[in-house]
Amino acid sequence: MNIAIILASLVLGVYAIAVVESWSTYGRLRLGGPALSALALLGRESVLARKPDRLFFETAPVLLLVAGLLAVAVIPLAPGLIITDMATGALFLNAALAYVLVALIMAGWGANGAYGMIGGWRFLGQFIAYAMLIVMPITAVAMRAESLMTTQIVTSQLELWNIFYQPIGFVLFVIAAMGLAYLPPLDLPLAPGDLAGGIEAEYTGIRLGVLRLGRMVVILSLAGATVTFYLGGWLGPWLPPWAWSAIKILVVTVAMLVAGRYMPRIREARYLALSWKLGISLALANIFLVGVIALVVPI
């Protein structure tokens, strides 16, 4: 039952994200857009690239989707409304999303085209930039909750949401999540202006549909993770818990999707430099501060 409810809300969530993304991309708000787009993608030829690595080419979109779905499994929407409340939930999220990298490199390589391949390898570089900044803020979150269980992390924020408890971690995590979901301005593997769609450049029709759907699920799972780790999950007054989860997740998603509309894509080298030189220092400082606060202040 839980699984059915979560999958249903996932479908709704993905649809909402697709509406926002299409608005952010084309500047037109069309509520029916994603349904039409999906149908249209079904109608278009799904061309197989010339001399592809067939296994990689076919598997990549599905793998991306699966990675996103696995990550969703540990996101609680309300007390008890979670697919699997693992003792290592926060870690599992990481493990599941690690396959995003694999899927993107496979997608880039499989099509046997230069744009895709460069896009895939670029994402490998991007991984080096964001990976530590996903894990280190989660470390600080788990320190406070004294657990890796995602439900435990939510209840640990009963007094004070983590966004206020560890704001540095929040900012780092959101930016890293945008890198992981290759959202603008961190959309280096797609980069329509330099790579003509990059890893998506050789995908058409239904395969492209699955690739884009997979990314939506990844975005949604990351927004869910942000809400779980920093925005108190389902916690909130008046409304039922699931409604709070839904509202928070949508707000985070819209913020992540819209931000990139107002700035140019970052330079790859700058992104790596900032992530390592600034980001990791801040993440370490965050862990230290959270450690001190957790020891000294009992909240």
């Binding site: 500047g27 061309v47 690239a49 085209g113 744009y115 797609l190 769609g197 050789e202 140019p264």
Partner: protein
């Protein structure tokens, strides 16, 4: 109503629903480019037609205006890449061949676009699927598979089978459509999957081409033997002149040899490798080296010879890498030798200087594994074989015929085919001479590459593969790819074709081919003044008003007439209005290229409004434009994106905004009293990088707004009747991209000759330096920052 690019299938049930969705979800690939669409007043966003990033995602090929032939060919390739169902919407276009006829034709205006689009949507809804679809083949992409005997290259069949002469199994190979076989039609899927021209080229083919290009290289730096170039020039590391490399080996071979017992094998080899590069448009053009077509100037594309892969397993593409790997192994087992770059016969076991010319000896890794060569003087230069290789040519039928140059066989008249001699140690063992050695060149160890224990034959180690490649600025050794960019690339000006050689994602070479330049001389037959102006306006879609006024000024100069101050100010204002529109268009393109979508859409909207606005409307737009400019300069990541990118030297051959962003006060308007009267002071920035150019263009937008307000009137570029004047005239004018000069001669009131100098012609030459060793995104931002107008670049004109 149907569309010609319908998808196969019965039109019923769910497909009707899908077709309706398809009709609403059209995505366009704009030919020649969105910036040209905007100049013609087309607002695609308003019409609900999003732009596709690649032909693969497009369903509509939107053709804007008349296309020159080269652009139509490129468009046919892009069209072939679009997945079905697909359609062509032509606005104000003439002949489209080799494209199929447009599904919908309409006038070149926003109304035409809207009408055409709704007609197209109905056509999609009603006929996106049908049973009887027809194939479309882009002529540039035709490839067919033929079968040939490894031993008897003259045996060619269009079916698999056995050789009638020796009974061997015929091997498949791909070839272009030139060679006979009229009955064959390349099928649709083949055509769409072949991408020699736009997005993705098959990587293997590219590697192949890289390979061959390496062999053409003939110049090297005396100090840095790893620097190898096909052309004379100076060393990028130390600036010394590159010196030619003589391949002593080849000479030896030619002089001393009679035997050639193993040459039958050579012949086979050669036949398999014939025809490596061909022109997409002129399949009869075949070259052993990359380059451009002597007929149309297009890039030659590599032809993949399947045969080679199969037979030599290790020769083309990845196979070549195996060779490199092996090369590496051999080299490491070798003693390093030193040789003189000028006198290859000088070989020494120690570094030092040449006894003949005193130059420093350069290290050579002699990879001719065996000591049987030890007596050879000529081996000095073997080491660089991987990159400095002389290709030899031989007759497929008469292997004893060997020539250093292409040509035909003196015995049978067949074309000589290039030989990459890859026979290795096993063959050498019996030789007293060393005819095979030059073949070691990058392919050195194919045979042994396949016999490494525990590693499958095609194993590709990145370390080995990249061992001998020069390093790029990021210090990483990567595989090299030649990737086509343009002529419809979303981040570049439409019509401009680039081929970037990418070392990983670092640009190590740029090859430019403009498909839309203007011809020199400008006119071939005498033209009436009005026709001349109209022609120039049509030729320069990026800045029609500027070039119209340039023609008017030159005509008036020839006729000795002058206009009153009011008209002159109106002209100045029209010029400034175009400058604002042009700079806004550049901002929109820059936004599209860097993913700054708010900028892309906002600047495009304002451009569309400004370019047709009168004085009052411009005054009304003033605040919106200044708001855009100030918001742009505060955008996060903006400075980080552009600072230090594409920095020009102070003395760079740049005009207009590029020169002014270097702090040089170069502006034709400086000497013009009309502009002085309007209160003109030239804008200036320092730094000369992409950020300075962005800021300069922003400053100029503000300044132009003030000039227009001061002028208070806008006039159109018309010339009054100048009578039957005979004489010469010239004019210079500051176009949005810099100073343009026009000189013309009049005879009895008709223009008989004209010469034009444009800023873009100078600026296009900057591309190579600005992109060299830059990361891909930075390189494209660098090209974008130049604001090139491909139509304004002197070259073959096809308007």
């Amino acid at each position: 109503m149907m569309i010609t690019g319908a998808r196969g299938g019965t039109f019923s049930g769910l497909r009707r629903l899908v077709a309706m969705a398809l009709a609403q979800e059209l995505e366009a690939l704009v030919v020649p480019g969105p910036e040209i669409a905007r100049v013609h007043g087309l607002d695609l966003a308003k019409a609900g037609l999003p732009l596709a990033a690649t032909p693969r995602h497009a369903s509509v090929l939107l053709i804007v205006g008349d296309l020159p032939e080269g652009l139509r060919d490129a468009a046919s390739v892009a069209y072939a890449q679009m997945p079905r169902p697909r359609a062509i919407l032509a606005l104000g276009a003439g002949d489209l061949a080799p494209l199929p006829a447009a599904d919908v034709c309409a006038a070149l205006s926003q109304d035409g676009l809207l009408g055409g689009l709704s007609e197209l949507r109905r056509a999609f809804a009603a006929g996106a699927f049908r049973d009887d679809i027809t194939d479309f083949e882009a002529p540039a992409l035709e490839i067919r598979v033929e079968y040939t005997c490894p031993m008897h290259p003259e045996v060619i069949s269009d079916k698999p089978g056995n050789c009638p002469k020796c009974g061997m199994v015929l091997m498949p190979r791909e070839t272009d459509a030139s060679g006979g076989d009229a009955g064959h039609t390349a099928n649709e899927s083949e055509a769409t999957m072949t991408q020699h021209n736009t997005p993705a080229q098959p990587l293997k083919a590219q590697e192949h081409s890289k390979h061959a290009s390496a062999e053409a290289a003939q110049y090297t730096c005396p100090m840095h033997p790893e620097v190898v170039s096909a052309e004379p020039g100076s060393c990028p590391k130390c600036g010394m002149f590159l010196v030619p490399v003589e391949d002593k080996d080849v000479d030896d071979k030619h002089s001393g040899h009679g035997g050639h017992g193993d040459h039958g094998d050579h012949g086979e080899h050669a036949s398999a490798e014939a025809a490596q590069y061909t022109c997409p448009m002129h399949p009869e053009v075949v070259s052993a080296e990359p380059g451009s077509c002597p007929k149309c100037g297009m890039f030659l594309v590599p032809v993949e010879d399947k045969d080679v892969d199969d037979k030599h397993s290790g020769h083309t593409g990845h196979g070549g890498h195996g060779g490199h790997g092996d090369h590496g192994k051999h080299a490491s087992a070798e003693a390093v030798q030193y040789t003189c770059p000028m006198h290859p016969e000088v070989v020494s076991a120690e570094p030092g200087s040449c006894p003949k010319c005193g130059m420093f000896l350069v290290p050579v890794e002699d990879k001719d594994v065996d000591d049987k060569h030890s007596g050879h003087g000529g081996h000095g230069d073997h080491g660089k074989h991987a990159s400095v290789e002389a290709v030899q040519y031989t007759c497929p039928m008469h292997p004893e015929v060997v020539s250093a140059e292409p040509g035909s066989c003196p015995k049978c008249g067949m074309f000589l085919v290039p030989v990459e001699d890859k026979d290795v140690d096993d063959k050498h063992s019996g030789h007293s001479g060393h005819e095979g050695h030059e073949g070691h060149s990058g392919h050195g160890g194919h045979a042994s590459a396949e016999t490494v224990d525990g590693i499958e034959p095609h194993f590709m180690s990145m370390v080995d593969v990249t061992k001998d490649l020069p390093r790029s600025s990021d210090g990483l050794q990567m595989d090299w790819l030649e990737v086509p960019y343009g002529p419809f690339f979303p981040g570049l000006p439409g019509g401009l074709g680039l081929q970037l050689t990418l070392d990983g994602d670092t640009v190590s070479g740029t090859n430019i081919r403009n498909l839309v330049g203007y011809s020199t001389p400008l006119i071939s037959t005498p033209l009436k003044p009005d026709d001349f102006i109209a022609r120039l306006v049509k030729m320069m879609p990026h800045a029609p008003v500027s070039y119209g006024f340039l023609a008017v000024s030159a005509l008036e100069n020839a006729a000795g007439t002058a206009v009153n101050t009011n008209t002159a100010q109106g002209r100045a204002a029209a010029l400034e209005r175009e400058r604002i529109a042009s700079h806004l268009s550049w901002l929109a393109d820059f936004g599209a290229q860097t993913g700054f979508r708010w900028l892309a859409s906002r600047a495009a909207t304002l451009q569309l409004e400004v370019q047709v606005a009168d004085i009052a409307q411009i005054a009304a737009l003033n605040s919106a434009i200044t708001a855009l400019v100030s918001r742009l300069q505060r955008a996060p990541l903006m400075r980080m994106r552009l600072k230090g990118i594409a920095r020009l030297d102070d003395g760079a051959d740049a005009a207009g905004p590029l020169a002014r962003a270097l702090g040089r006060n170069e502006d034709v308007r400086n000497d013009n009293e009309i502009f002085s009267a309007l209160g003109f002071t030239p804008a200036s920035q320092t730094g000369g990088d992409a950020l300075a150019r962005l800021q300069l263009r922003c400053d100029e937008i503000d300044q132009s707004l003030k000039l227009i307000a001061a002028a208070g009137v806008i006039t159109a570029p018309v010339v009054e009747d100048i009578g039957k004047v005979t004489g010469k005239g010239e004019a210079a004018l500051e176009t949005p991209r810099g100073a343009a000069h026009l000189r013309l001669a009049l005879k009895k009131g008709e223009v008989i000759s004209a010469q034009l100098d444009t800023p873009s012609t100078r600026h296009v030459a900057l591309i190579e330096d600005l992109t060299a060793q830059q990361e891909l995104g930075d390189a494209l931002a660098a090209i974008g920052s130049l604001d090139l107008a491909p139509w304004e670049i002197a070259g073959e004109n096809r308007v």
